[in-house]
Symmetry: C2
Subunit: 239 residues, 2 copies
DNA sequence: TGTTTGAATATTGTCTACAATCTACCATAA
DNA sequence: TTATGGTAGATTGTAGACAATATTCAAACA
């Protein structure tokens, strides 16, 4: 491994090697299973079974479960084990309202944009979205939309906000993962979805904070709330 | 332990016994040490030393450190250990802006108050504050003020918001724990502090959301921001 | 038939021990 | 003097084992 002195001698930027821990890998694997619908809200997450599945020991698996608990994807009860977090209407309400508060704060602090590299990151994410829509690849569009929203929140340069938003977004994706029935109804084309996000980015580029906030107000919530029909699932909005 | 059937036979409400885990106790102990100033930002938290100090094994101690990491009081780097979270101006800025966003959301969702028991909880906390001020007990006032603010946020009946606010509040208390120098300057008397909170509660009771938001806007932030002077510490505002 | 008790099984919580990695220090070579 | 290599000690990461607790089921009792 090159030391920083070595990197300076080579005139290269540091490129730290950062092998993921078993804890991180296990958490990532479980999160993927949850978001892919392999594990559903209420499903038990039995430590012994997961350790057998992943071929790891229990202490790091327990740490992974705590990570996921912190992200809101898993609930644990002392001495009774863990399960995938259930989703009630109240949960959906909380997720949506909190998401809105985070986005609002991000725009209040981040628009006008102080650092052009942050804006560039939004543009790259939008381009990824456009590419995915062009390929008619919905899954890639979901991923790129996630990146776009993270990049918008990152405009504020507020690490705590970004971390909180990221955890919350996983919970939103869990809502979306449950909507296989509604998923088949297309509320908008992939292209329209991209254009909606492009409009948001244009307002950000214009540094029109009020307009951005207004656009975010209608970006999902109003249409979302109209779709809350006593279901415990979250209707599909890609972004 | 009485089962729920047993409780029904005795006509008593359930009274679950819930022994704290070693993980919880260790996290509580470390948090207390941090908030009491025994551990300062940047101090290393060496697992082997903490296990010796507490007389517990390392895996649950590691789980405790992860809990504290999620609360923002501790930072960990893979394979390099943990330390008490450093506090820069940026950290202070993040804590304050995020706190404001949480409080704002709580008031937007929680005022007018839908559940009178939530309001009663605010009143009890304010009474505890008044009692503490009467006894000239600043430490108790800090605790009661914490309870008051949690109770205000709890008006919204939004569990995610409460949990997020609680973690953030520990970080604010870490800021305050550093202000021993400024602590000796009394920006207001304890009585004035209580009155300030009483005024906030009165506005809440009047269900005047706009007024509450305006009062919160001036509750700490404006005076706080005037005190940011290139210090990496957070000036003292009890509440 | 409904309730209680006891035993077996499943699972969680924590401990001990080993492996891997990092840091500090010293000796040697350029 | 600076850079490199090697070693020892400190610390973190994880595996495996034991203890404690919860759940389930069957038998006994009212």
């Amino acid at each position: 491994m090159a030391t920083s002195a070595g990197a300076a001698a080579l005139d290269l930027p540091p490129r730290p090697i950062d092998p993921p821990s078993v804890v991180q890998l296990a958490a990532d694997a479980i999160r993927s299973m949850i978001l892919a619908g392999e594990l559903r809200p209420g499903d038990r997450l039995v430590e012994e079974r997961l350790t057998a599945l992943f071929g790891i020991s229990r202490p790091p698996l327990r740490e992974a479960l705590r990570l996921l608990q912190h992200e809101g994807l898993v609930v644990r009860a002392a001495r009774r084990g863990a399960m995938v977090a259930p989703l009630s209407e109240q949960d959906v309400h909380e997720i949506v309202t909190l998401r809105h508060a985070y986005e609002r704060l991000a725009i209040e602090l981040g628009v006008p944009v102080l650092d052009p590299s942050r804006l560039e990151r939004c543009r790259e994410a939008l381009q990824s979205m456009a590419d995915a829509a062009h390929r008619d690849d919905r899954a890639a569009l979901v991923e790129a939309s996630f990146s776009f929203h993270l990049a918008v929140v990152a405009l504020a340069g507020h690490r705590r906000l970004e971390e909180a938003y990221r955890s919350l977004y996983f919970q939103m994706r869990l809502c979306m993962a449950l909507n296989t029935s509604i998923r088949t109804e297309r509320y908008e084309t992939l292209q329209d979805n991209v254009e909606r996000h492009r409009r948001l980015l244009e307002l950000i580029e214009r540094a029109d904070q009020e307009a951005v906030l207004a656009e975010l107000q209608s970006h999902g919530d109003t249409t979302f709330l109209a779709q809350v029909q006593g279901q415990t699932t979250c209707p599909g909005k890609v972004g």
